[in-house]
Symmetry: C3
Subunit: 257 residues, 3 copies
């Protein structure tokens, strides 16, 4: 008998099937650069995106969403207000929300705002090495990552050449993907939206993060195999995520604990 908590490729396939069957609503407070690609990634996956940031209505959108994504990519006053309102809505309802602290290392107001959001206990944080080091104040290593997860209560998805996921107790390493992923803007942002959609249908934070990163990485690998460059890669990963079937996902997933 398969135990999905141990067979991670099957887990990813199960979570993907659930996203497609349930079509969860994912509300995204994300930067202007990423909005279109993120919405298209969620649609290709089988989820239903909404993107409004107007403070007057973000509470109603978040209130009807199955998961929330907060991304700091372009941090203006209206988005900051929206992020505070929406994270409070999800916190009160104990519903999933995911933080993507983009460029948190680049400016002091951004670091301060990301830390304030972190104190509101997002379920999952997705970031890269530079962002992790700025946010945690520690150099990246396995122990620092696990400690950060325990301290914040979040599952942490650290993406880079390989992806690392931990909740402080469990660890996974995912080796899928394509070098072209770093050549398309908002790829990380859209990947965090995939994780949010997975968390809408999988309450285990660590499993949701692992599943989302496997799905994204395998789709990226398939797209990378035929792309002529970053333009056709950005198109191809949407086609690949939309067409991804269970057998291909399981056959291609390269994940270790």
């Amino acid at each position: 008998m398969r135990d999905p908590s141990r067979d991670l490729p099957s887990l990813a396939a199960d979570v993907l099937a659930r996203v497609r069957a349930r079509a969860p609503r994912v509300h995204c407070i994300t930067n202007a650069v990423a909005q279109n690609f993120t919405a298209n990634m969620l649609l290709a996956l089988g989820a239903i995106p909404s993107m409004t940031i107007a403070p007057e209505e973000v509470a109603e959108f978040a209130g009807r969403a199955d998961a929330l994504l907060i991304n700091l990519g372009t941090l203006d006053a209206e988005r900051r207000a929206a992020a505070e309102i929406a994270s409070a809505v999800m916190g009160e309802a104990a519903r999933p929300w995911v933080l993507d602290p983009v460029f948190v290392e680049r400016s002091a107001p951004r670091t301060a705002f990301a830390r304030a959001l972190l104190a509101k206990r997002p379920h999952i944080v997705r970031l890269n090495r530079a962002e992790f080091e700025a946010l945690s104040g520690a150099p990246l290593n396995d122990e620092a990552l696990a400690d950060f997860a325990r301290r914040t209560g979040a599952a942490v998805g650290l993406t880079g050449e390989a992806d690392h996921v931990t909740d402080g107790a469990r660890r996974a390493r995912i080796d899928n993907g394509s070098p072209l992923m770093a050549k398309v803007t908002a790829m990380g942002c859209a990947g965090t939206a995939v994780i949010a959609a997975c968390h809408a249908v999988e309450s285990d934070r660590w499993q949701a993060t692992v599943a989302g990163l496997i799905v994204l990485g395998v789709a990226g690998e398939l797209a990378g195999a035929t792309a002529a460059g970053p333009g056709s890669f950005a198109v191809g990963i949407l086609d690949a995520i939309h067409a991804l079937d269970r057998d291909t996902l399981i056959a291609k997933a390269r994940v270790a604990r």
Copy 2:
């Protein structure tokens, strides 16, 4: 002799030819998710888009535009102000403007704002079933749609698996399109921009709406025939609308009264 008021595929081909010949300016107050795709759709069609929402200058842009699109997709304070200014400019000049009340069913401020805009008498309203029911307060059926058109004075384009267009007196049903249209964000928004461009060159509101939805639906069908998924479909529909010729449009149009 052909009567374009009855031969709707020919009407659509005539309107498309006029858009290409006259290159009308279409000013769009639209959501951040849709801006890029909408501008590209208008360019592919042969129109000239502008997208500014700054309240200080939107009156000048609207004043020089041949048609105006107002879309509520991401409703922030600046866009609300811009929508009020620009719709007033078009109203005073008796020039065409089209309303797309995106997600009007999702929040109370959005419903209220859409109703206030509706009272300013847009020439055309393009919406889906959920948006229609929220805005009109009535369940969707042919009579409710015709009544809404008569009450608002607008031609109404109701899009979905089939598209229905009425001005309260005339009706048309269009059966073109592709299931992939629902998998690309801002496809409806861009479609409303196509209708606005058609209304810039065809003063009959109902004919302009029918023509726009035929053009979009046929282009979608052509793109859907070769797309590998939603990514390549979004690219392909721009190519298809740019390349669409009269004979193909007339041959592929599936429209009934």
Copy 3:
């Protein structure tokens, strides 16, 4: 021995190689329509984009950037504030910044704001004929262009069917490109970002502008040769700029003094 100040195709190839080797940071204050495509163009070229416009943090982003792009495409209050802060940062540090006065002919506040920015002495201005005439107040001809360059201290890149570059003393004319470039929104904006990235690695303003426009024009020509329309062209130019090699660039460049 080759003199790169005279052999302009080789100069363009040298500058492109430097961009790829150094991966300069280019901060972009640009319109919402152009942000995603501009970021993808910079990534495809080998540069590193950032796009925040929040007044609280734009000084820190500009302070760490190797070049700055200011584009007026959608001119809202926040972008105006960001443009003033960031241009001051670059001015004090004597670092490169490039102005793209999009649609400056369309509204009075836009003309006034563009002139105020021009007084802060951008290194390079990229514009089309209508924008030049509105900004300079003179009909376009070679002398007016050279005079504008001398008066503002900027290298001027005037784009259209052919591109003209002058710093008041030197002139170049570039005949690369594709008619489809006018059918993709934000192509000019993204082209100005390419020039900014070139200026980050080439301090001569005129040479940087010439190099950027050759790279963009050749990539456009390559993409245009296989595109099925404006949708696939927008994808193809990103692939082409990413794949562009020295020999192809030099063989295809059509540039004269």
